[in-house]
């Protein structure tokens, strides 16, 4: 394990900094950071599957949605307490995602991306048609139990969850499992040629990704207090998640976090100047430029600047 003391020192600094933040910034900024935290969670989830193994998922909201809808239906329609419904939602995401996407893991590249996209569209349409008495149909559900009240509490909750996920993912990715997953992204044939079952590895990556997506989605929905299919199973949502992970730096742990914060704050700080949809022009234009210039994202740009020799072109 390539663990050095300064890694932990940096993490400690990061965690302390994040927890100290509410002392220094306004509630409005905290609210923005809460969304950034959730986006970071989703981006880490996406990265765990797609950034590492190279299996690009265009339908990640499919997983987030299973978690979100499971807990929303359980709490809203059947009065389950949140502490029980969230774990159920996480398990449902892992099982449901696996049943549906397992066959898809044997196809590669663009085709995998398309199956996931089609999956998301399918669920989007089904949620509205099948049992709208449970799902709330097109309007979704409002008035779900919320876990916290107030900006600071919401922030502590989301940041703890985000940091816990990020730190555990970082540790896991530092083990040989992380090496093996990245190896799939580089040369899948050689991984099986090294005696490792690629299917098992992909499934592990998928389950970890689904775990994070389900957990993040369930907690997110109990933060928002409402759920609507149009906000979840949306190509713009996919877009935000993927762009956050890529702009920050796919295949790293800090990258998706950095990307999520950068993009959320970019949108929020543009608001006073460009209140409308023009913000997305700036957002997507900038994302396109960064991505075209350095597909490995800002993290690579930064390390490139500091250790020029270490980064390969």
């Amino acid at each position: 394990m390539n663990l050095r003391w300064h890694h932990f020192a940096l993490w400690a600094l990061f965690i302390v900094g994040m927890f100290a933040l509410p002392q220094f910034v306004s509630n409005g900024t905290l609210r923005t950071m809460i969304f950034a935290n959730f986006l970071a969670i989703f981006a880490i989830s996406w990265d765990t599957l797609s950034g590492r193994t190279g299996y690009i998922s265009f339908g990640h909201p499919f997983l987030i949605g299973i978690g979100a809808y499971t807990t929303a239906i359980l709490t809203h329609r059947f009065d389950f307490p949140v502490e029980i419904s969230i774990p159920i939602a996480v398990i449902a995401t892992m099982v449901g995602g696996l049943i549906v996407l397992l066959p898809a893991l044997r196809i590669k590249g663009s085709y995998f991306a398309l199956v996931t996209l089609a999956m998301m569209e399918l669920v989007y349409q089904l949620v509205q048609v099948v049992r709208p008495d449970l799902t709330g149909g097109t309007r979704g559900m409002s008035g779900l139990p919320t876990l916290t009240r107030g900006a600071a509490n919401g922030y502590y909750m989301s940041v703890s969850l985000m940091l816990a996920i990020a730190l555990s993912m970082w540790l896991i990715m530092k083990t040989r499992l992380g090496t093996a997953l990245s190896a799939i992204g580089m040369n899948e044939e050689a991984v099986s040629g090294s005696g490792l079952s690629v299917t098992k590895l992909k499934m592990t990556a998928f389950l970890m990704s689904a775990f994070i997506a389900g957990l993040g989605g369930a907690v997110y929905i109990h933060y928002l207090g409402s759920i609507a299919p149009r906000a979840l199973f949306d190509i713009n949502f996919v877009f935000t998640i993927i762009v956050a992970a890529l702009i920050g730096g796919a295949g790293t742990t800090i990258g998706p976090i950095a990307g999520a914060f950068f993009l959320t704050f970019l949108l929020e700080y543009l608001r006073p100047w460009l209140p409308g949809a023009e913000r997305y022009m700036v957002y997507s234009g900038l994302a396109l430029l960064i991505y075209m210039y350095q597909p490995k994202g800002m993290w690579a740009l930064m390390t490139q600047a500091t250790f020029k020799s270490k980064i390969r072109p």
């Binding site: 149909g137 309007r139 928002l224 906000a231 006073p272 949809a277």
Partner: protein
């Protein structure tokens, strides 16, 4: 041309931002607008609010305090809506929020309203489920008001249209319902189906539900024709132009009426490229083609002098925002501002504005009392706009009117008869 527009718009946006920033530094009363900044719906509310604020400030503001407006765009997206509400509450610290949000967006930020307890007025959303929340938890929902008749009231009056016009005048005995697969579609369909045969005596032959992404309505219209019903009742709130324009393009030989949200604005004719004749829809008042009282007519005149871009005429929610914002400020003036939401809420409940045309009740901006039972639907509508479901509509305006676009591009009210400016007709391609 396009480039120039971009440049001028961004320059204007920059100026507005500077002005907004400078304004906010000295602001006393801050009104937050939440809604889509690029849709006719959102802009109607925004501009109604802008004009009301201008007038109030010219008259010395609220208790001498200047009123400023800040905006937050929802892009008609639920999550963006939540962020926008948080932005107004936390960053802008808005005292009062006026909303032109669509249904699911309002439902999305409702938990935030409950948390922040900021006085909030919805001008477009008509979801009865929000009024149900007020019934269930009046304390928590105290700062919330909706000054448009909720959808249940809309549907109820529509049944009367069925009895008075469709059955009695046109002689139609059976209907096929074409409803989109949304909660709105489901709610309206349910209300209509339950009431239309017992009350209006019209038999429902079939209900066809379609998905809002439908590209081609040809097979759906064929299916409707095959039922042998006398007319089609459509329920469409999303992508409504598609069904109505295909109805015209395909010249479906069967009359169609119902709810078509796209036909609510003056732009409908332009947007359908003239292919919208014959479409009728229910509309909250004041609708297009609605005969306006002098005050409202003056509002529209000044509106048109001030704004040259879409929408050419405010949609009904523009009027709601204009009058509603003034009422909110009046209520605040009474209780010394918005700080105490409970006190403000009590004062707001008592607001009542009656607008008359030729000595008769034309519009009334007031709210139902907490325990007041509406006689026709036999339920309460706390914090919902006051409406009247029975002729001669002397308590308030009707919850809705039916308007019809003619093939020459004119539009008029066809029901209730007390407000009618034209007669209900069928499109010319339908041979009777």
């Amino acid at each position: 041309m396009t480039l120039r527009k971009i440049l001028t718009t961004s320059a204007a946006a920059g100026l507005m931002a500077v002005a907004g920033f400078a304004g906010s530094a000295f602001a006393d009363i801050k009104v937050g607008f939440i809604g889509s900044l690029s849709s006719d719906t959102g802009l109607s509310t925004l501009r109604g609010a802008e004009m009301a604020i201008e007038e109030l400030n010219a008259a010395g503001g609220m208790n001498g305090e200047k009123i400023v407006l800040v905006t937050a765009d929802t892009q008609e997206d639920v999550t963006e809506g939540v962020k926008a509400y948080e932005y107004l509450a936390e960053t802008e610290k808005a005292d009062f929020i006026i909303s032109g949000s669509i249904d699911d967006v309002s439902l999305g930020w409702m938990p935030r309203m409950q948390e922040y307890q900021i006085p909030t007025l919805d001008t477009w959303t008509s979801s009865i489920s929000i009024i149900d929340m007020v019934v269930k938890d009046p304390e928590l929902m105290a700062p919330y008001f909706m000054n448009i008749a909720s959808d249940e009231a809309l549907a109820t009056l529509y049944i009367n249209f069925g009895a008075d016009v469709l059955k009695k005048k046109m002689g139609w005995d059976s209907v096929v319902i074409l409803a989109e697969d949304t909660a709105f579609g489901q709610a309206i369909t349910g209300l209509v189906t339950e009431a239309i045969s017992p009350v209006a005596g019209i038999e429902v032959k079939d209900t066809i539900v379609y998905d809002v992404g439908t590209v081609d309505f040809a097979p759906i219209f064929s299916k409707a024709q095959a039922t042998g019903a006398d007319f089609i009742y459509q329920v469409s709130s999303v992508n409504s132009q598609v069904i109505s324009s295909q109805y015209v393009k395909l010249q479906v030989p069967m009359p169609m009426t119902g709810v078509n949200v796209s036909a609510l604005g003056m732009e409908y004719w332009e947007d359908t490229g003239g292919a919208g004749g014959g479409i009728s829809t229910l509309s909250p008042v004041p609708s297009v083609g609605f005969k306006l009282d002098p005050v409202s007519a003056d509002f529209v005149k000044r509106y048109q002098a001030k704004y040259t871009s879409r929408p050419k005429m405010p949609h009904f929610n523009g009027f709601n925002a204009y009058y509603g914002l003034k009422q909110a400020m009046a209520a605040a003036a009474e209780v010394g501002g918005f700080k105490d939401a409970k006190k403000w809420s009590k004062a707001m409940e008592k607001q009542d504005l009656v607008l008359k045309l030729d000595g008769k009740m034309s519009l009334r901006y007031g709210f139902w009392g907490k325990d007041e039972v509406e006689p026709v639907t036999k339920r309460t509508y706390p914090h919902n706009a006051r409406f009247d479901l029975t002729a001669p509509y002397d308590d308030a305006q009707p919850s809705m009117v039916v308007v019809q676009w003619k093939e020459d591009g004119s539009v008029g009210v066809v029901y209730p008869f007390e407000f009618a400016t034209t007669e209900f007709t069928v499109p010319s391609w339908i041979k009777k």
